[in-house]
């Protein structure tokens, strides 16, 4: 095998994003859906840092910084919503979350 290249990092980033997307689509447990969202954001971060390093431009790394900030805020609000849903419905599965149905 030849030495690693930026392409290897980009393929890995794509696969991480794909695994996270698969988790968002197939899981019914909303906790697992939130975790898979974090995995998707991580895949994007790897791609951004790779482009930032090979392009010798700091903008990509600073974008990763902001993505981490937004992800932390998103997890806090998402988990608070999940606790509120659990108090109302006694369940954290996505098919029980239809608060506007019936």
């Amino acid at each position: 095998m030849e030495s690693i290249t930026p392409q290897h990092f980009l393929i890995l980033a794509f696969l991480l994003f794909g695994v996270g997307f698969l988790g968002v689509v197939i899981r019914r447990n909303l906790l697992l859906v939130l975790m898979s969202l974090e995995l998707m954001l991580n895949g994007v971060n790897v791609a951004l840092v790779t482009f930032s390093r090979t392009g010798q431009n700091l903008d990509g790394s600073l974008f990763v910084f902001f993505i981490m900030t937004v992800a932390a805020a998103e997890v806090a609000v998402g988990l608070a919503l999940l606790v509120a849903l659990y108090k109302k419905r006694r369940s954290i599965f996505s098919e029980d979350a239809g608060l506007l149905q019936n």
Partner: protein
Amino acid sequence: MNFVDLLFLGFATLALGGGILMIFSRHPVSAALFMIISMVSVAGLFVLLEAFFLAILQVLVYAGAVMVLFLFIIMLLDVGPEGAKSSRLKLVSGFAGVACFSILIVLSLLLVFDSSPISQASTLWPALDQNSLVNGENLVFSTRVKSFGFGLFTKYMLPIQVAGFLLLAAMVGVIILSKKVIREEKV
């Protein structure tokens, strides 16, 4: 195939394997533990890309704060496994602990010793200009934290203030969300 390739293969396998095991695990606690393995391996990939500050942030924010928040919520909601026995949980948590600890040991050994394979890794990428912060209009990538501070407080001054306001809004939103439910229970 040198040592850096082996490191990349190891980190990539752990990141992808942790993610795949996470989305297919039945117990939420073991999913969170596999998630921690994946996050710490991504921090290792950042080290191979010479983004040391982002690697530290990744371990602190994701593996530290976010996953502890997830584990707290799992504990509070007391959600059990989806029709599986939880006897494998000790095995999974032991595996996750050993994996994360060894990744962090490898990373710190790589960073402490100067003649480490990291200097080999840097030959894979374009050479770094460590002396200047800006090149014309562009901010230059460097391994120093100083360049991050410079970029955040010059070119990205407005976005970092918006990010601070977003964190404030998230905090107020979480407090209001939790408070409302308590009030409804009292009535």
